[in-house]
C-alpha cells in the first residue's frame, strides 16, 4: 500500500484567475521509504497540491475532484478534527521559510513539546527525553541549549533542522517538504538534503519533496513528477525523467539548467580595464551612546578588475559581502576604505556633485524584479528617467526607449503600461532596458536572475550575454548560484566573510579550485554529477 496516493486530483482557482484550475487531474503516489520530487516553475500548482494533501487549502481553492489516500485512508473530504489527528502523527510538513514557520515568541523546545502534548499522553519527563532525542537526531549541536533557544537565536539551517525535528518527532508515514532548502545557502542546503535523506531511509518515511531546482531533484529523488500549469506532464523514475524526458516541457526545463562546466570563451587579455577596486573595504559601525561600539566588517580588502567586454563574477553565500561590494562600487553606500577606479578615476570618496556625471557610466540591475520598478510609474517613465536626468531631449529619450524595448525582446507598444502588468522575467528585462538607456560602460547584475524560474532565467541570461557581446559591455555579475556563474563569467572571485578567497579565470576556479572554501562550495552544489543543459 502506498503511503500517499493522489488520484485525478483537481483543485479549482477563484474566478478571474489566469486559468480555471490550480491542479487538473493530477495523479501520483509516494511509496514507503521513497522520495518523490514534485517539480515545476512558479504557478505550476505544486504547493497547492501539498496544501491539498495536508488539508490546508484556503477557502478560495476547493478540491473539485479526485481522491487523496493516506495509507489507504481517504482524506480528501476528511473532517477538520480527523485532519488535526493525522497531522504530525501520520503526515507532516516542512515549509520553505523556517523563520516564519516557527513562532518567534515561543522557545524551540516548547514548540516541539506542543506537538507531543497535543498528540500523545507522555509524561513531561518522557516528552523531554523524546525532544532531546529528536534534536540529537537532526544533528543539532548542544541539544540542551537548542531546546531552550528562541528561533531568532538560531541560524537558518538550524531553524530548518528544528522544523524537521518537529515534523518527524512522531514518526509520520509521510513527510511533505515544500521547498525546504530554497531559503538556505548552498552548503547548508547540502547538509539539510543529506539529513532528510538519512532520516527518511532510517525511518522508512515516504517523502513528497517540492522544489523548482533540478539540481536538488538529481540529488535526492527516487521518482520525479513534473508539473506545468497544474497538469502533471511527466511522472517516473529519476534517471528516466532526467535523462530521457518524454515531454517537451521537461526537456526544456532540464535544458535550461545551466551546467557547472565553465564556458570556453576565450577572454581577450589586452582589453582595457573599465573598473578596478583596490583594497576596497566596508565596515558597518553601530553608533550608540551607551553600548560598546560594534564593528562588522562586511567587505575587507577587495581587489578586483573588470575589463571591457568581459564578465567578472562574484560568487559567495549570503553574508559573504558580495552585494556590499557591488553597492560600494555604484556608491549606493560609501566605502570605508580603498579605491574604486572607474576608468582610472577614484570615485570611492568623491563628493556626490562630482560623482553625478560619472554615475551614468555604471548601472545596476537588482535581484527582486517586483521591487525594482516604481509601481506608480509607467515603464516608459522608468526607462527615460535616467536620460532625462542627463539632459537628453524627451523625444529622443522616448525613441531610444522604444529601441531598447526591442533590444530586450519586449513589445515597444507596452511602454505605457505599469510594472504590475508584467511578469517577473519581463520586469527584469525592463530593468535591463532602464540600465542600458544610460549607455553604461559597466553593467552590474546583483543576483539579477536569482528570483526567476529556471526557463526565464535562461532567457534573461541569454539576453544579458547577447547585450554584453553587442554593446561590448563590461559586466560584474553577482550570484550565489555556481551554475549561473559558470555559464556567464570569464573571471570569478569567490567571497567568504567579506574577503575574496579565490580569484581567477572561470575555468581555473571551477576546474582546479585552490581554496578549500571554493571546493566546499563546488561540492555542495546540488546535482553536480549530473550533466544538465547538454541535451
Amino acid at each position: 500500500m502506498s503511503v500517499l496516493e493522489v488520484r485525478e486530483l483537481s483543485i479549482a482557482l477563484p474566478p478571474g484567475s489566469d486559468r480555471r484550475e490550480a491542479a487538473s487531474r493530477v495523479s501520483f503516489s509516494v511509496e514507503r521509504g521513497e522520495i518523490v520530487c514534485l517539480v515545476g516553475e512558479s504557478g505550476s500548482g505544486k504547493s497547492v497540491i501539498a496544501q491539498g494533501v495536508m488539508g490546508l487549502l484556503p477557502k478560495g481553492l476547493p478540491v473539485t475532484g479526485g481522491t487523496i489516500l493516506l495509507e489507504g485512508e481517504g482524506i480528501t473530504h476528511a473532517s477538520q478534527s480527523r485532519l488535526r489527528e493525522l497531522r504530525c502523527t501520520r503526515m507532516s510538513m516542512v515549509f520553505q521559510e523556517p523563520m516564519t514557520a516557527l513562532n518567534p515568541v515561543m522557545g524551540c523546545g516548547d514548540q516541539l513539546d506542543e506537538v507531543l502534548r497535543e498528540h500523545t499522553r507522555l509524561s513531561p519527563a518522557e516528552r523531554r527525553r523524546k525532544i532531546l532525542d529528536i534534536v540529537r537526531e537532526v544533528r543539532l549541536p548542544d541539544p540542551e541549549r537548542m531546546v531552550g533557544s528562541y528561533p531568532h537565536q538560531l541560524s537558518g539551517g538550524q531553524r530548518q533542522r528544528i522544523m524537521i525535528a518537529m515534523a518527524l518527532v512522531l514518526e509520520p508515514a509521510l513527510l511533505i517538504a515544500d521547498e525546504p532548502t530554497t531559503a538556505l545557502d548552498v552548503t547548508t542546503q547540502a547538509q539539510i538534503l543529506k539529513l532528510i535523506q538519512d532520516l527518511q531511509a532510517r525511518h522508512g518515511t515516504g517523502v513528497l519533496f517540492i522544489t523548482h531546482d533540478f539540481g536538488v531533484v538529481a540529488e535526492i529523488a527516487h521518482r520525479v513528477a513534473v508539473l506545468r500549469l497544474g497538469e502533471l506532464v511527466e511522472f517516473g523514475a529519476k534517471d528516466k525523467v532526467l535523462k530521457q524526458p518524454r515531454h517537451d516541457y521537461t526537456r526544456m526545463l532540464i535544458g535550461s539548467v545551466p551546467t557547472l562546466k565553465p564556458h570556453a570563451r576565450p577572454a581577450e587579455a589586452g582589453a582595457p580595464v573599465v573598473l578596478a577596486t583596490r583594497g576596497l573595504s566596508k565596515t558597518y559601525r553601530d553608533r550608540s551612546w551607551f553600548a560598546k561600539r560594534r564593528e562588522v566588517p562586511a567587505a575587507v580588502d577587495v581587489t578586483l578588475e573588470v575589463r571591457k567586454g568581459q564578465t567578472l563574477g562574484i560568487v559567495g553565500e549570503s553574508g559573504s559581502g558580495k552585494s556590499t561590494v557591488a553597492r560600494c562600487i555604484v556608491r549606493l553606500i560609501d566605502p570605508s576604505g580603498g579605491e574604486v577606479l572607474l576608468g582610472g578615476e577614484d570615485i570611492a570618496t568623491m563628493p556626490a556633485g562630482r560623482l553625478r556625471p560619472l554615475r551614468r557610466r555604471m548601472q545596476i540591475v537588482f535581484q527582486d524584479p517586483y521591487r525594482s520598478l516604481n509601481p506608480r510609474r509607467t515603464v516608459l517613465e522608468a526607462i527615460i528617467e535616467g536620460p532625462l536626468n542627463y539632459g537628453v531631449a524627451r523625444a529622443a529619450a522616448v525613441e531610444r526607449a522604444r529601441k531598447l524595448m526591442e533590444l530586450v525582446r519586449m513589445d515597444p507598444e507596452s511602454l505605457g503600461r505599469y510594472p504590475h502588468q508584467f511578469s517577473g522575467g519581463q520586469r527584469q528585462r525592463i530593468c535591463i532596458a532602464r540600465a542600458l538607456a544610460m549607455e553604461p560602460e559597466l553593467l552590474i547584475a546583483d543576483e539579477a536572475v536569482s528570483a526567476l524560474d529556471v526557463s526565464v532565467q535562461a532567457q534573461v541570461l541569454a539576453l544579458l550575454e547577447e547585450i554584453r557581446e553587442r554593446l561590448h559591455l563590461a559586466m560584474l555579475f553577482i550570484t550565489h548560484d555556481l551554475r549561473v556563474a559558470a555559464q556567464v563569467c570569464d573571471h570569478v572571485a569567490v567571497m567568504s566573510q567579506g574577503r575574496v578567497v579565490e580569484y581567477g579565470p572561470a575555468a581555473q576556479v571551477f576546474g582546479a579550485p585552490r581554496h578549500a572554501y571554493t571546493r566546499t562550495l563546488l561540492e555542495a552544489a546540488p546535482g553536480r554529477d549530473f550533466a544538465f543543459g547538454a541535451s
Binding site: 516553475e41 535550461s256 542627463y390 532602464r434
Partner: protein, 312 residues
Amino acid sequence: MQTPDPKQYEALSIEASAVRRQHGVWQRVRRNWSVRIAGAMLTVLVAVALAAPWLGTVDPTLFDPGSRDLVPGKTGEITTLNGETITHTFRMGSDSLGRDIYSRVIYGTRVSLIVGVLCALLALALGIVCGLASGYLRWLDGILMRCMDGLMAIPAILIAIALVAMWRGSLATVIVAIAIPEIPRVTRLVRSLVLSIREEPYVEAAISLGTPTWKILFGHILPNCIAPLVVQGTFICAFSILVEAILSFLGVGLPPDIPTWGNVMAEGRQQFNDYPHNIFFPGVFLAITVLAVNILGDGLRDTLDPKMAKRV
C-alpha cells in the same frame, strides 16, 4: 557556451502568457460600501453648504428681539439689514437674541467643512515636508523628530487654545492653530514610510540613474506614501471639525458673530434645560459630519492599505 534559443523558450514558458491582472485602486474604492455611504453623506453636506442661501435661510447674523427663544417650527418676525421686518419660520427655533438657528446651523456647515478640509491639507502639507526631510536626510532626523516629540507632549487642544489666544480669533488663525498640533502625527507617519521606501530597489535604481534628491523624494517616495496619507487626512479632517467646535464652544475659537456649530452650542449652553434645541440641532449636524468623514476614512483604509487589499 550553450545559449538556449530564446524564441523557443518564450513559446513554452509559463511566464510569457501569465500577466498579472489587478483591479484598479479606484475601482476597488468605488465598490466599497463604507466609501459609498460616507461619500453620499458628505456630498449632501457639501451641497447644503454651497446652497445655503437658497434653502429657506436668512442671513445668519440677523436677529430680532421680538422673536427670542422660539421653539422649532414657530413663525416669527426678523429684521433684515435694510431695516425691513419680514415673517420667517424658525424651523429649528431661535436663540436668546432672536437669531434663526436653522440659518446659523446651515451656514455653519460651510465653516466646519472649510476648517476640516483646510486643516487636513495644511497638516498634511507641513507634515509631508517634515517627514520627507527627516526620513531621507539623516542628519536632520534627530533635531526635527525631537521638536515633534516636544510638540506631541502638549495636548492638541491646549496648543490650539494658546495659539488662538495669541493671535486673535479668525478663520485663518483657528485653522493654523488646529493644524499645528496635527503635524507631528503626519510627520511620524511619513517618516516611517520614507524609511522603508528609501530602501526599495527602485529608489536605489533612481540614485544610480543620477536622479536628484528632490526628484527622488517627490517623484518616487511621496507617490508611494499617498494611500496611508489619504486615510490619515480624513481622520485629521474629522478631528479638526470637532476641535473647531470645541474651541468655539469654549469661547476661544471663532468670534461669536461667525455662525459655527460650536458657537451656536456655546450660546445655547445657558438655556439648555429650557430650550435644548439650541444645542440639539448643531450637535446632530456635527455628529453626522464627523461620522461621515470617519466612515470614509475607514473605507479608504480598507481599500487602499496594501495588506488589506490582498484578500481573495
